[in-house]
Symmetry: C2
Subunit: 497 residues, 2 copies
């Protein structure tokens, strides 16, 4: 049995590149593929006793479906795929895995871009698809309680109907799950003003590696009770526990918003404008950049009417009190002009506004159409260093003879340099790997970080020490060993053990 949360069965443009590019995911050997499940019959029966036979999948096509995620990495077939329907079933699964030392990889929608949901060959995948209830939306105290499998956009829609706002908006929000968002500390377009997922997680309940049920945090705005295990879990990529309930902070929906599109001859001008807006102490809800390469790909894909001759675009939204919005918008327009925009337009209505953001949201899918393999990076720098980062990316592309499209959340220093390549071309792939190393090194040299919002996963674990140092990696390993002594929780992610 398959369920509609795999990359394969979702018909959403965001993922088309993955599906188109690989008829079969990387690394699935013929032997494995036709050899059938190797999980012991007794173990399979024990899982079936917990979740029912329909919710234990071991058929080759099912295992293949959950062997990879949105990162361009080798696939790994798990032993079985499990779909618990309740916290109680989830807890029993974890206990059984603990007793049998079976590695566990929990998977929401598999939109992970750093390999965090690629399973262990000896382990199981737990799908959260059936743990998908919004348990409470508390309008007075402004929080929601959800199960991990709730789709991000579903919560957003539900709380908006009550005049409330859940700001984190990862690009994958139409399909990504809140459990995945929490475990990856997902970002999005609104990080600049509203922060990221971690800023909205008030409390959690989860099962630890032994199957103990842990409750952390609170439904109160303030909480100084005990260790901040809630925030330790956020961004831990499934390596410290398995979520079954999440308490999320909500805020009042902004009264007003205004979207602006500004066109520049060069990406340098656009990035100087970003620095100018930040220096002007304006805090837009969103401040996105798109280079010419990306503009042309998006326009070919979406026919949104983007200016294909522009060297770069800024897409800006300000929100809040109407008077504040008008003032901020006017100042943004002035700054765009001052820094060399040759044209700036304000969306006059919701349809125009929606058109701007639909174009932005299609950037990844559009780029993915151009070549078989897409590598989406998210190295991030202090906001004022955006011009330096943009310049560096151009040099790295030239040095390695690669196509690198650049777009992303310029307002919070979080660019998405996107390398278009074909992984089957071994020579070019080596150059891609060198370019990725150069991107990381350049971001770190500017006081930045390896990952703004995609996490470390498998993809960046070898680079972790470059940023945080040997002692901090050792500290992290000690933490992981203490909380998961048998190393069954999503092994190999973050610290690469």
């Amino acid at each position: 049995m398959q369920i509609n949360t795999s990359l394969k069965t979702l018909d959403i443009s965001y993922y088309q590149y993955t599906i188109q590019d690989n008829d079969l995911p990387f690394g699935i050997g013929i032997t494995n593929f036709f050899g059938g499940p190797v999980i012991a019959k007794s173990l399979r029966q024990a899982f079936e006793a917990i979740v029912g036979p329909d919710h234990v999948m071991t058929a080759p096509e099912d295992l293949a479906t959950y062997a990879y995620d949105a990162a361009p990495l080798e696939s790994v077939l798990p032993q079985a795929v499990l779909m618990p329907e309740s916290s109680e079933e989830l807890g029993r699964i974890i206990k059984l895995c603990h007793e049998n030392r079976l590695p566990i990889t929990v998977r929401g929608a598999g939109t992970n871009l750093s390999g965090g949901t690629i399973p262990d060959a000896d382990g199981v995948v737990i799908l959260t698809a059936l743990l998908n209830r919004i348990l409470e939306v508390n309008e007075t105290d402004m929080y929601a309680v959800v199960q991990p499998g709730v789709i991000t956009a579903q919560l957003v829609t539900k709380v908006e109907a009550k005049g409330l706002f859940y700001p984190p908006d990862p690009g994958s929000q139409a399909v990504s799950t809140l459990g995945g968002n929490v475990m990856e500390n997902a970002g999005g377009l609104r990080g600049l003003k509203y922060g990221v997922t971690r800023d909205y997680v008030m409390g959690l309940s989860f099962f630890d590696a032994m199957g103990n049920h842990i409750h952390t945090g609170s439904r109160t705005v303030k909480c100084a009770t005990g260790y901040n295990i809630t925030q330790l879990m956020v961004g831990s990529e499934g390596t410290l526990g398995v979520l079954d309930e999440i308490v999320l902070k909500l805020i009042p929906y902004p009264a007003h918003r205004k979207s602006i599109i500004s066109m520049f001859k060069t990406i340098e001008d656009a990035s100087e404008t970003v620095a100018g807006i930040i220096a002007g102490r304006i805090v837009p809800a969103t401040l996105e950049i798109m280079d010419q390469f990306t503009i042309r790909a998006v326009e070919a894909f979406s026919k949104a009417g983007l200016p294909v001759d522009a060297g770069a675009l800024l897409l800006i939204e300000v929100d809040g009190h109407p008077a504040q919005v008008e003032e901020d918008a006017a100042r943004v327009l002035d700054l765009c002009e001052k820094y060399g925009a040759y044209q700036t337009q304000t969306a006059e209505n919701d349809a125009q506004r929606e058109k701007i953001w639909a174009a932005r949201r299609s950037a990844l899918s559009a780029l993915a159409k151009l070549k078989p393999t897409l590598v989406l990076e998210d190295a991030t720098v202090p906001r004022s260093r955006i011009p330096d980062m943009v310049k560096g990316l151009g040099e790295i592309a030239r040095k390695h003879g690669l196509d690198i499209g650049t777009f992303g959340h310029a307002g919070d220093g979080n660019l998405h340099p996107t390398i278009l390549t074909d992984r089957r071309d071994k020579t070019e792939w080596l150059r891609v790997e060198k370019a990725i190393e150069d991107i990381f090194a350049h971001a770190l040299s500017l006081g930045g970080t390896l990952s703004g919002e995609h996490g470390i996963g498998i993809a960046k674990s070898a680079f972790l020490e470059n940023e945080i140092g040997r002692a901090s990696v050792e500290f992290s390993k000690r933490l992981k060993r203490a909380l998961d002594p048998s190393n069954i929780l999503n092994p190999g992610k973050i610290t690469g053990d």
Copy 2:
């Protein structure tokens, strides 16, 4: 040698109750007091080799000065008090303590209200007084880098001069240190709109229990690199590491603000008004409540012209864009009237505004004048349950025949029920202990938490399991044991080991 950060030597009204009430701190036995230091000579010399003889204190009067904090708990004399002047000295101290299994309690200003800075009898106190430099204020990227001994108010003043805002404002901010604020996850009056200390900590560097130097977090707005050790450290009360550098997020200073004082016949009416303002989706910067008992104490102390016949006051500040401020203020005035305020005044100028907030800030000192011992609690409930909490506190006071003044941050559900007593009266003290237990139980029954902002320390560690459960306490202990295997970092705090 003594330095000006001890409770004894500071002439600040906030602490007068501690100083007045106890000629000698609790629990200092005559034998210890005159017995002199018992620290081994070789160890003393080793510390002197690191920080110099002037920065190692072992005289009885020095040990006594750092034997207690602002919580009404038994004092404990440490073996020595050390004052490092640099990160390097700090790291060498930690290594020496590690090698000798010497417990370490780090102390900022000792304003802790849960016993978090009460040392171990076998250990040393490390003062952060000389680690007091603001290392960087980055105006463009809006962050500050500070050493842990910087006084909170000094940073606030420094960044305000640059048009920037560091919002966390614990009541003790005039003397408290940022290192202490981080380790206690200090709250304050602005939690409702602006959050608490943890919401402003972007990165840290610290020494772990073995003296390894650990770097976490980033200077970027977004960071999804590795475990969220930064936030694990926030609120860990000195039990997981010793800070030497803190990166704090800053935001633009609010353009405008308006303060309102509203008078009610009963505290029930005032607390219903709080719930009404929250339900109206208004987010004031500050929304404080004060009962009649507290009003009268404050007026006797401060002569601020407060209405001593009012059953309760609300003190409200709205800030932001001027148009937003005017609208919010008008809506707040309407709501106060609707819920039964008999008089509401808006501060017409800075002097009037300052008068309101000076009165509020003197509440603790004013109450402390009334009786020898003051117990300040901070059990916190979801915002909408404030009326239920206020009602419960009245019942608890009557049941145990105690004076309980109530004031605090009603807008974020964080009340400060304050019990006035005399700890030398054993019979009454037993009733006080029962009342504290009832306050905790009532807050938890309303979906609240033991501590909104004061931490667990020693004072509440016995109650921790009531809130988070046995499994979560065990999880916390595993974490602590892994990161501090010899249990030398502020032993006994939080989990009570």
